[in-house]
Structures are given as structure tokens and as C-alpha cells.
């Protein structure tokens, strides 16, 4: 296992390098001038040019990249062009809330999706199965902004059950996490349903049930573990995606997550912040997928990493 982890660590470094390099190239190609955005409306072209050299943006691209990486290796993520604050500080302030939302969001997805999917698989073709299917598609088709606004309006504004957005207590998490859950639970439900149906159809299960063993035991112990494999993948992917920020939900609920930071940074081409967010997001994706990969052998002992 240690060898495996060490190998993954090494691979992760390559991925990070790849991501920063590609993003750097992309930002260079982007037809937008950060110096222009900082300088604002009334600046003279000379001012813009001076700002550009102060930021080192008139250097050739490889020089800029090398400078960035060497600073990165010293733990210096640079300073935001617009805010002049250290990028590390900006990211740190957003990391906690983003992680909380990520965990709660996945929690709701699983809580709402898994039991529904399992029930649908066990009662395939029944009305419950159809209901779960319709709900799953409804959740996936409902635009998150509208859902969030609706939840806020009904449950927070009219009924006063929850705060009107913001960040601070567990009550603040419920609605945003629920919104994420509504969109994602359907996926989990459908995937575990199809995965379980597949397992259900396999000989040994049919044999066990034909022998009269109660469904519950068969379901819980063996089937679920196998059927959970794709679910685990999805959780790993969700960890990575959510940690990269969920802009829409964050905006509606005023959640101070990385998504809002990234969005604003992209608008004004705040390159250090964009790179910082991309790096953080890449780390989260690598971590999420690594966790998933570690779980597979636990679920299916036949899977082994040599």
C-alpha cells in the first residue's frame, strides 16, 4: 500500500505540473489584459504599460512560467492583481466553507439518492421505481439557481425556517447542501439502481434468494458492496468537483466558497488567483480520486494494485 501511495504521489506531481502549465498557456492565449483591467477606465496607455511591467507580464511566457513555479515551490502563490492580498490567504479563507459545503452536499446526495435507488432496484418496474426515475430526472433538469431561489423564498423568507443565505451556523448549510443534493441525488439513485439490478441478475444472488435467504441479508452484505463501486467513483469525482467551487449555489446563498472567488477572478483576469484556484482544485480532484481508488479493493477484494 505504501508503495502504491508513493507512486500516486509522484503521479500527482506530474498532474499538477501539467495542469499549471496548460492553464498558464491558456491564460496567455486569452485575449484579455490583466494590466488593462487593473488600470481601469481612466488610465493612460503609459500607465497600463507600466503596470504591465510591474507585474512582469511583458516578459516572455517561459520566463513567467519558471518564475511562477519557483515561487510555488517555495510555497508562495503570489498576490492577487486586484486585491494585492496573498493568494494563499484568499484561498485559506474560502477553503473551510467550501469543504463544509462539499461534505454536506455529498451527504444530501447520498442520503436522498442511495436509499431511493436501492428501493427502486428491489422493486423494479413498480410505481416506486417509476417515481424515483421521474424525480431523478426532475432533479437533474431543474436549474440550480431557480431551485435555490425558490427554496430561499419559501423556506427562509416566507416560513422563516432557515436563514436567508450567508454563512455561520449549521442552519446556514442546509439549504445550499439540499440544493446540491436535489441536482445530484438522482444520479446516485439511477446509478446504484442499475448497478444493483446488474448484481441482482447474477447467478449466485438468484441462487441465494431461490434458497429462501431473506432479501435484506443478501442485499446488505454482498450486493451492496459490489454495487457501490460506481457510487464510490462518483463520490470521489464529486469531492473534486465541489472543492473546485459550485458557483451557482454559492452565489444564490451567499456562501463564501471558492467558486465565487474563481468566477470574479476570471472576470478580471486575476491570473495569480486563477492559478491558485486551479491548483487547489487539482489537488482536491487528485485526492478525491485517490480516496475512491483506495476504496475499491475494500469493496471488491479481487481488485488489487500491484
Amino acid at each position: 500500500m505504501t508503495r502504491y501511495l508513493a507512486g500516486r504521489l509522484l503521479q500527482s506531481v506530474f498532474v499538477l505540473v501539467g495542469v499549471t502549465l496548460l492553464t498558464f498557456l491558456l491564460l496567455y492565449v486569452l485575449p484579455a489584459d490583466p494590466a488593462q483591467m487593473i488600470a481601469g477606465r481612466s488610465a493612460t496607455p503609459e500607465t497600463v504599460q507600466r503596470i504591465r511591467s510591474e507585474l512582469g507580464l511583458d516578459q516572455p511566457l517561459p520566463v513567467q512560467y519558471v518564475r511562477y513555479v519557483s515561487r510555488l515551490l517555495h510555497g508562495d502563490l503570489g498576490r492577487s492583481y486586484a486585491q494585492k492580498v496573498e493568494v494563499a490567504e484568499l484561498l485559506a479563507s474560502r477553503l473551510g466553507p467550501t469543504a463544509i459545503l462539499m461534505l454536506s452536499g455529498i451527504g444530501f446526495e447520498l442520503l436522498m439518492g442511495l436509499p431511493a435507488g436501492v428501493a427502486a432496484a428491489l422493486r423494479q418496474g413498480s410505481r416506486l421505481d417509476r417515481l424515483v426515475m421521474v424525480l431523478a430526472f426532475a432533479g437533474a433538469s431543474a436549474p440550480q439557481f431557480a431551485v435555490g431561489l425558490l427554496l430561499l423564498y419559501t423556506l427562509a423568507f416566507r416560513a422563516g425556517l432557515f436563514p436567508l443565505g450567508g454563512y455561520g451556523s449549521w442552519a446556514h448549510v442546509v439549504l445550499p447542501a439540499f440544493t446540491l443534493g436535489i441536482a445530484g441525488a438522482g444520479w446516485y439513485a439511477r446509478v446504484i439502481r442499475s448497478s444493483m439490478i446488474d448484481v441482482l441478475g447474477q447467478e449466485y444472488v438468484r441462487t441465494a434468494r431461490a434458497k429462501g435467504l431473506p432479501t435484506r441479508r443478501v442485499v446488505h452484505k454482498h450486493m451492496l458492496r459490489n454495487a457501490l463501486i460506481p457510487v464510490v467513483s462518483m463520490v470521489g469525482l464529486d469531492i473534486g468537483t465541489f472543492m473546485g467551487g459550485v458557483v451557482v449555489v454559492e452565489s444564490v446563498f451567499g456562501w463564501p466558497g471558492i467558486g465565487q472567488l474563481a468566477w470574479q477572478a476570471i472576470q478580471i483576469v486575476d491570473i495569480p488567483v486563477i492559478l491558485g484556484v486551479v491548483t487547489t482544485s487539482a489537488l482536491a480532484i487528485l485526492l478525491g480520486n485517490l480516496l475512491a481508488d483506495i476504496c475499491y479493493p475494500l469493496l471488491d477484494p479481487r481488485i488489487r494494485y500491484s
Partner: protein
């Protein structure tokens, strides 16, 4: 098993519901303001966005300021000033006893330091351009001199500034944020973090800043103007969506909507007397316009440009934005000196427009591209413009892009038509030359400049320079008249299609109030924080 999970969810929700804290309403002497975007920096040399502009004005002060709610210049940290006969030298006498938040008294040296700091390229200040007219500024900026000769400390309370040429707008630049005074020792101590640890002379000082969530200001007990500020604390909540901010205001959690009334609810609010009375309406120094790249075919022909001007149904566009603006026929907004109330501009007349086009040789119209910013309501306005142009045969392909991309493309002169919404001109200071030099002058008609129309009229350039030399008291009306002529002449050349002047609608809770005009202050945008007070 399937029933159990329902139970779990219900339990969770109930528990979460019970744990809802009493949502904090603003405390007695506290005012809560919401913004969607983050406050980026509070460094007066750098801050230049919607959120921080007025906050900086409350933490820092300059030599001059404006009477609250008006565009009238008055001395502020300067007790008085004198202008030399040739209009090139200004001598300011400072008030005594004005203290920074760190208790040190302000001296003339501090002003010299602050202005030189803005000019210093290392600071990356967007405002450096405003002070290039000072003698010695160019040499300093280029690194050829260690100081700016034209800024002289005559004695600890007297500052003298010499200009290369007389500039009637100079006093405005002594009121703008970039000229506000900062204490050298604090700047050096904080370094690049000064923007997050601001120390100024203003009515408020920074109490707390939680990145990404809120900025809290508290009263400065030693403020030199007695009676100000009129409230003890201001809390700025950031990251709040305008629709949600409105809901919070209606629940009493928030006092002022920093981004205004969300367009989606505008009509309901204005039609409901309960909420209408909480809305203050005022004018802004704003014009929304379409720039026409006059150096590109077929726009080199003035007839084509005039035809475009006659093709747009401005009333309809104003209706699309729920009548939040008034149609514009000229470049300057109504509040600005030099605005011509008698000028009627180009009428909406698609038939006449088509005739003009035919005269210019485009009886079958032509194809072109219209650029616009992609934040609401700009794509909608751009589509309305697109339809109006199509009606006279001009087939405009619409490109709604991120703001930075539009600015870059237009700055390179590659955008034939640009709808300026979201990037439109709100004056930096209330003087007509701010509508000329940065966006319609020959000097700004260069790559990277904001004169996207690339309009350059040497004769008018000369006239504007001359008008700016009318600095003596009593010459204001003459100057306004000169600019009126200049802008009228520009409209004859039609490098722009002025569309509307947006009005300001600020909504506040009934807890707060203040002098007339402070909620729609044309300079302290959006609200004059020093003057807001809790009345209930």
C-alpha cells in the same frame, strides 16, 4: 428500509431547524449594506471599483471634497486655497489638528508622499494619469527624478502644486480618491497589505475584515468634522445576490442594497407603496452608448453613423429596462455642466435612416459586429439594438463576451460597434472634461485607450485644452458653454449612439435616513456613508 431514510431526513431537518439562530438584525447604531462582489482593496491609490469607492472615501480624506448629495466642490482637509493669476499654481493651506487613525497629525509632507506614491509605478495605481499634469511628474515616473518638483512643501501646513498647464478640473483631482492622504509609516509597515489594513483620516476606521464575508467600519472619535459620522458602525456584507439582498431587506436584516434593486423585482417594488417609499431616486453622471469605430469601413462615412443614430428606438430600450433610465440624445448626462437641454439630437426615424444609408451607397445595408458585455441586462439591450439595426438593413452579428475580452478587443480598435453597458461611463469626477479626454480625445484614440470609437478631431482637441485653461473664478459658465459647443460638434460627427442615462435607485430600510440626496449621491457612489444615520 426505505421508510427509515425518510425518517432520517426529517430528523435532520427538524434538528437543523431548531438550531436556527435568531438571525441578527442590525444593532442599534449599526447600518448594514450588501454587495454582490467582494471589496477588493481599501488602498486609496488602487481601489477603483463599485464596492470600495465610497468606503475609501469614508476611511480617507483629500484636500477637497463635495457637499453631500451634490457635485459642488468644497475645501475639505484644505482650509483654503489660492490660485495664481496664470492658473498654474495652487497653494493649499491645511487645517490644523487633523489626525490619522494612528493619532499622528497630518502635515503637508504627507500629501506630497501620497501623491508621489500614486505616481510611483511600483504602486500600480490606476489613477496615476490624473496627476501627470503636475510639473516634474513625468520625470519622476520615468525614474529620472527622485521626487516630483511641482509638489512643494512650503511649510508643515502649506502645500503648493505647480502645473504645466492650467487645468480647470485640477481641483476635482484633489478630491478624487487617488489624492487622499495616507501616513507613510503605516504604508511602509504594512507594505503590500496596506489595502487590507488601511489607516487614514476619515470619519470611519476599519474594525474588522473577514475575507469574502464582511468588512466592518467603526466610528473615528477624533474625526475633524464634528457630528460626523452619524452612525457608530457600518457592516458591509459581500457575496450577497441582489435578489436575496432584497428579501433580507424586506425582513429587516439589511439596511441598504449596495447594488440597487434587482431588475427582476424592480417593477413590483416601485408599484407597491409599502416599498416604494423606501426607494430614493436620483440622477447619475452616466451615459450608456454604442461606440462606432470611425476608422473602419463603412463607418468612415458620417452619413452612415448618423443613419445608425436614427435607427435606434431608445424609448423601447428604456422600457426593456423597466424605465430605469431616460433616453439620451447627447453625450453628457443631465447633471453635468455643459449639458444642453435644448439639444434634440437625432430623432428616431428608420425611414430617414435608410435614405441616408442609400445616399452613402448602402441601399442594401451591410454586415457588421456588435460587441457587448455578457452580464444582464446588457445582452438584452444589445439584442434590442441588433433588431433596430436590422430594421434598416444593418445586419449586426452579436458577440456577448466576458468584459475583459470586450475591453481588450475594443481597446485594440477591432470592434466596429460596442454597447458600453457594464463598462459605460460614469464620471470619475463631475466635470465635462472627464467625458472628453479619456474617451473622445485624440490622445486616447490609441491602442489600449478607451476611445473605442477612435474619434479624433484636432480642432476640438485644441478647443478643449483652451476650455480647460479657464480656471479663474467666474469663468465657470464660459467654460461650460465652451464644452457645450464641443460636445454638440461631436454629436454632429456622430461617433457614438447615445442610448440612455441611467437613473439611480437606492433602496434602504426604514431604519435609516439622512440629508437629502445622500442615498443617491452622484459622487459618493452609491451612498454617502458618513451621512447615513439610524433614525429608528
Amino acid at each position: 428500509m426505505e421508510r427509515r431514510w425518510i425518517l432520517y431526513v426529517v430528523i435532520w431537518l427538524v434538528v437543523a431547524g431548531l438550531v436556527v439562530p435568531a438571525v441578527p438584525a442590525p444593532t442599534r447604531n449599526q447600518v448594514v449594506v450588501t454587495f454582490k462582489d467582494d471589496v477588493s482593496t481599501l488602498d486609496p491609490a488602487i481601489g477603483y471599483d463599485w464596492q470600495n469607492w465610497s468606503i475609501i472615501k469614508s476611511i480617507f480624506d483629500g484636500l477637497m471634497d463635495y457637499a453631500p448629495g451634490t457635485t459642488k466642490l468644497v475645501p475639505h482637509l484644505a482650509e483654503s486655497y489660492q490660485v495664481s493669476a496664470d492658473g498654474r499654481t495652487y497653494t493649499f493651506r491645511l487645517r490644523r489638528g487633523v489626525k490619522f487613525h494612528n493619532r499622528r497629525e497630518v502635515r503637508a509632507q504627507d500629501f506630497k508622499y501620497s501623491l508621489e506614491r500614486v505616481l510611483n509605478p511600483k504602486t500600480q495605481s490606476p489613477g496615476a494619469g490624473f496627476f501627470m499634469g503636475i510639473v516634474g511628474a513625468e520625470e519622476f515616473v520615468k525614474g529620472q527624478a527622485k521626487e516630483v518638483r511641482g509638489i512643494q512643501v512650503v511649510d508643515p501646513y502649506t502645500l503648493r502644486i505647480s502645473l504645466k498647464q492650467p487645468n480647470a478640473a485640477f481641483l476635482h483631482t484633489m478630491a478624487i480618491n487617488f489624492s487622499h492622504v495616507v501616513p507613510r509609516e503605516e504604508v511602509e509597515r504594512a507594505g503590500a497589505d496596506f489595502g487590507h489594513k488601511p489607516v487614514g483620516t476619515g470619519a470611519f476606521r476599519l474594525k474588522e475584515w473577514v475575507l469574502g464575508q464582511r468588512v466592518v467600519l467603526e466610528r473615528n472619535p477624533d474625526y475633524f468634522l464634528k457630528g460626523l459620522p452619524r452612525t457608530d458602525e457600518i457592516v458591509f456584507l459581500v457575496g450577497v445576490e441582489p435578489n436575496v439582498a432584497l428579501l433580507r431587506l424586506q425582513r429587516g436584516e439589511v439596511d441598504i442594497l449596495g447594488d440597487g434593486i434587482p431588475p427582476a423585482r424592480f417593477v413590483q417594488i416601485m408599484n407597491d407603496p409599502r416599498w416604494r417609499r423606501l426607494v430614493e431616486v436620483g440622477d447619475q453622471l452616466h451615459t450608456g452608448y454604442v461606440t462606432i469605430q470611425v476608422q473602419m469601413q463603412p463607418f468612415t462615412d458620417v452619413r452612415v453613423r448618423r443613419a445608425l443614430n436614427m435607427a435606434i428606438d431608445k424609448q423601447r430600450i428604456v422600457r426593456i429596462i423597466n424605465n430605469r433610465a431616460v433616453p439620451a440624445v447627447q453625450i453628457l448626462p443631465p447633471l453635468m455642466a455643459g449639458y444642453d437641454a435644448t439639444y434634440s439630437g437625432y430623432p428616431y426615424d428608420p425611414r430617414a435612416a435608410k435614405r441616408l444609408l442609400a445616399e452613402a451607397g448602402y441601399a442594401n445595408g451591410f454586415a457588421t459586429t456588435l460587441y457587448a458585455n455578457n452580464t444582464d441586462p446588457n445582452p438584452r439591450i444589445a439584442q434590442a439594438i441588433q433588431q433596430d439595426l436590422a430594421a434598416i438593413g444593418v445586419r449586426a452579428e452579436l458577440k456577448t463576451l466576458a468584459q475583459s475580452t470586450v475591453i481588450e478587443t475594443a481597446g485594440r480598435g477591432q470592434a466596429p460597434l460596442v454597447w458600453s453597458g457594464g463598462m459605460a461611463w460614469i464620471a470619475d469626477y463631475p466635470d465635462p472634461n472627464n467625458f472628453y479626454w479619456p474617451i473622445l480625445s485624440c490622445t486616447s484614440a490609441t491602442p489600449g485607450g478607451w476611445n473605442w470609437a477612435r474619434y479624433c478631431n484636432r480642432e476640438l482637441e485644441r478647443q478643449a485644452t483652451q476650455a480647460d485653461a479657464l480656471v479663474q473664478p467666474g469663468q465657470e459658465r464660459l467654460r461650460a458653454e465652451r464644452y457645450r459647443q464641443i460636445f454638440r460638434r461631436i454629436m454632429q460627427d456622430a461617433p457614438w449612439i447615445p442610448i440612455f442615462h441611467e437613473r439611480r435607485y437606492t433602496m434602504h430600510s426604514d431604519r435609516v435616513g439622512g440629508k437629502k440626496g445622500i442615498f443617491t449621491d452622484p459622487v459618493h457612489i452609491p451612498v454617502h456613508y458618513d451621512e447615513v444615520q439610524v433614525i429608528r
